[in-house]
C-alpha cells in the first residue's frame, strides 16, 4: 500500500465519514451501530482502495455501508432523535410555548421515523446533509427520477401530520 493510496483514503474518509455515519443512522436509528458500520465500511474501503475507480469512491463507500447494514440484519422499528439548533433566544418564550415546540418536534421526529427506509434516507440526505437530488442519485447509484419519487412520497407523508397537529 503506497502512501499515495493512504492519502487518497484520508481525503475520502474526511469527506464522507460523517455523511456515512448519518446515512446509516437514518436507516437504523442506532448511533452505536451506525458508528460500528461506518468503521467497518472504511476498513473495507481502505483494504480495497486500489481496485476502486477514481471518481467512483462515493457510490462504492455508500454501497459497502448499505450492504454491511443488510448483513447485520436487524429490521425493527426505528426511532430517530435529532438535536435542534436554536433559532433565537428561547429564554423569552413562555413554558407553554416551549412545550408546544417540543411536542411539535416530537411529532415530526415520529413522522420521519415512520417513513419507509428508502424515503427516509433520501429525504434526510436532502434536508440534513443538504445534498441535491442529483448528488443523492450519484451516491446511492439510482436515477434522479427515483430520488424525486421518494422525496414526493416522503413529503406527502409529512404533510399528513398537519391534520394531527
Amino acid at each position: 500500500m503506497s502512501s499515495k493510496q493512504d492519502k487518497r483514503f484520508k481525503t475520502h474518509y474526511t469527506r464522507l465519514v460523517q455523511p456515512i455515519f448519518r446515512f446509516i443512522y437514518y436507516k437504523c436509528g442506532d448511533r452505536v451501530l451506525a458508528e460500528d458500520i461506518a468503521q467497518d465500511t472504511f476498513i473495507r474501503f481502505w483494504n480495497k482502495i486500489e481496485t476502486v475507480k477514481e471518481g467512483g469512491e462515493s457510490a462504492y463507500i455508500y454501497r459497502i455501508a448499505k450492504n454491511l447494514l443488510i448483513n447485520h440484519g436487524q429490521k425493527q422499528k426505528v426511532s430517530l432523535k435529532f438535536q435542534q439548533t436554536l433559532r433565537q433566544n428561547q429564554e423569552n418564550h413562555s413554558p407553554q410555548f416551549l412545550l408546544e415546540e417540543k411536542e411539535f418536534k416530537q411529532k415530526v421526529e415520529r413522522a420521519i421515523s415512520n417513513l419507509s427506509e428508502k424515503q427516509r434516507e433520501v429525504f434526510l440526505m436532502n434536508r440534513i446533509d443538504g445534498l441535491k437530488y442529483r448528488e443523492i442519485a450519484e451516491r446511492l447509484d439510482i436515477s434522479q427520477k427515483a430520488v424525486e419519487k421518494r422525496m414526493q412520497l416522503a413529503l406527502l407523508a409529512l404533510k399528513k401530520i398537519h391534520k394531527k397537529i
Binding site: M1, S3, D6, Y13, T14, V17, Q18, F21, R22, Y25, R31, V32, E35, A38, Q39, F42, I43, W46, N47, F82, Q83, Q84, T85, R87, S94, P95, Q96, L98, L99, K102, F104, K105, V108, I112, N126, R127, I128, K132, Y133, K145, V147, E148, K149, M151, Q152, L155, L156, L158, K159, I161, H162
Partner: protein, 288 residues
C-alpha cells in the same frame, strides 16, 4: 402527471412563490431544517480503523511498515494535542435524555436538563456533572464525578447521581461507591442511597430496579423527600415550581410520574398530599 410535484417544489422552494404554495409543508420543512445529528469523533474512529486494519493485514514490507509507523505516530502526536487540550461537554434540554460513551468505554445516560464536562482524553477519568445521570463505569483506575455539593468516587460499578438545586442524591446499583461532601463521607453498597439534603447525609435502602428509574416513560421514587421529587419534575418539564405557602417539609413521596404529560405528572405527585396547583406564565404555583 403530477407525481413529483412536491419534490420539484421543494428543490426550488427558495423563491417566495413556492413557499406560499405549500404553507403547511413549509412550516414542517423549516422545523426539520433545524434538525442536526451529533457528529461522531472522526479522529478516534480513524485511529481505530488504522489499528484494526493493520492487525488484519500482516506481512507488509518492512520499509513501508516504518513509513506507516512514522505516519501513525505523527497522527498520534497530532491527535494527542487535540485530545489533551480540548474539553468536551454534552448537555440535554427539557424532556430529553442522551447516552454518552466516554473514551474509557464507560457509559453515562443523561436525564433531561443535565450537562457533563470532561477532558477529551479522559485519562484522569474525572468529570463534572450538573443534573442527573446514570453511570456504568468500566473497571479500572479511580473514576470520579464532581458535583456542586460533593464528589463521587468509584473503581468500576454502576450508580445514579441526582445533583440539582441543593440536593445530592447518589444511589449505588452494583459495586461500591464513595460519596464525599464537604464535611462528610460514606461508602454505599448495592441498593443503598445517600441523600444530602440541607447538609445532612442520610443513607437509606431502595429497590435496585428503581435506581435507573427515569430512563423509561416514568420516574419512580421510594420514600423520597417531596422537595426532591418536585425538583426532578420541574427540571424534566422545564417549569419553575413555586411552593408558595405550602409546607413541603417532612413529606415523603413513594410512586412515579409520567414523562409525557405535565398535568398528569403533577396530579400523580401532588394529589396524594391533597395539594392543588395552577399553571401560569411563570410556571407552576402550589396551593393548599
Amino acid at each position: 402527471m403530477e407525481d413529483d410535484r412536491l419534490a420539484k417544489w421543494l428543490a426550488k422552494s427558495y423563491d417566495a412563490e413556492g413557499l406560499n404554495e405549500e404553507p403547511v409543508l413549509s412550516k414542517i420543512i423549516e422545523s426539520i431544517d433545524q434538525f442536526a445529528i451529533d457528529p461522531i469523533d472522526e479522529e478516534r474512529l480513524f485511529e481505530k480503523i488504522s489499528a484494526k486494519r493493520n492487525t488484519n493485514k500482516p506481512g507488509l514490507l518492512r520499509s513501508l511498515k516504518w513509513i506507516g509507523a512514522a505516519a501513525a505516530s505523527l497522527i498520534m502526536v497530532f491527535a494527542a494535542q487535540q485530545l489533551f487540550f480540548t474539553a468536551q461537554s454534552t448537555s440535554t434540554t427539557f424532556q430529553e435524555t442522551a447516552s454518552v460513551h466516554l473514551p474509557d468505554e464507560s457509559v453515562v445516560t443523561l436525564n433531561s436538563q443535565t450537562s457533563i464536562h470532561y477532558n477529551k482524553s479522559f485519562n484522569d477519568r474525572q468529570l463534572t456533572l450538573k443534573g442527573e445521570a446514570f453511570f456504568e463505569v468500566k473497571k479500572g483506575s479511580t473514576f470520579s464525578v464532581k458535583t456542586k455539593h460533593g464528589t463521587i468516587e468509584v473503581l468500576g460499578t454502576s450508580f445514579n447521581v441526582f445533583s440539582r438545586d441543593s440536593f445530592l442524591i447518589v444511589t449505588c446499583a452494583t459495586g461500591k461507591v464513595q460519596v464525599s461532601s464537604l464535611s462528610q463521607s460514606t461508602i454505599l453498597l448495592p441498593g443503598q442511597q445517600s441523600s444530602l439534603v440541607d447538609d445532612k447525609l442520610i443513607v437509606s435502602t431502595v429497590p435496585i430496579e428503581d435506581i435507573q428509574n427515569w430512563t423509561g416513560s416514568k420516574s419512580h421514587f421510594s420514600k423520597m423527600p417531596l422537595v426532591v421529587v418536585l425538583s426532578a419534575l420541574s427540571h424534566h418539564y422545564g417549569f419553575a415550581i413555586d411552593a408558595g405557602i405550602v409546607d413541603l417539609q417532612s413529606l415523603e413521596f413513594t410512586g412515579s410520574f409520567v414523562h409525557s404529560d405535565i398535568d398528569k405528572a403533577l396530579k400523580m405527585v401532588l394529589l396524594p398530599f391533597n395539594i392543588q396547583y395552577e399553571i401560569n406564565q411563570y410556571g407552576i404555583r402550589l396551593k393548599q
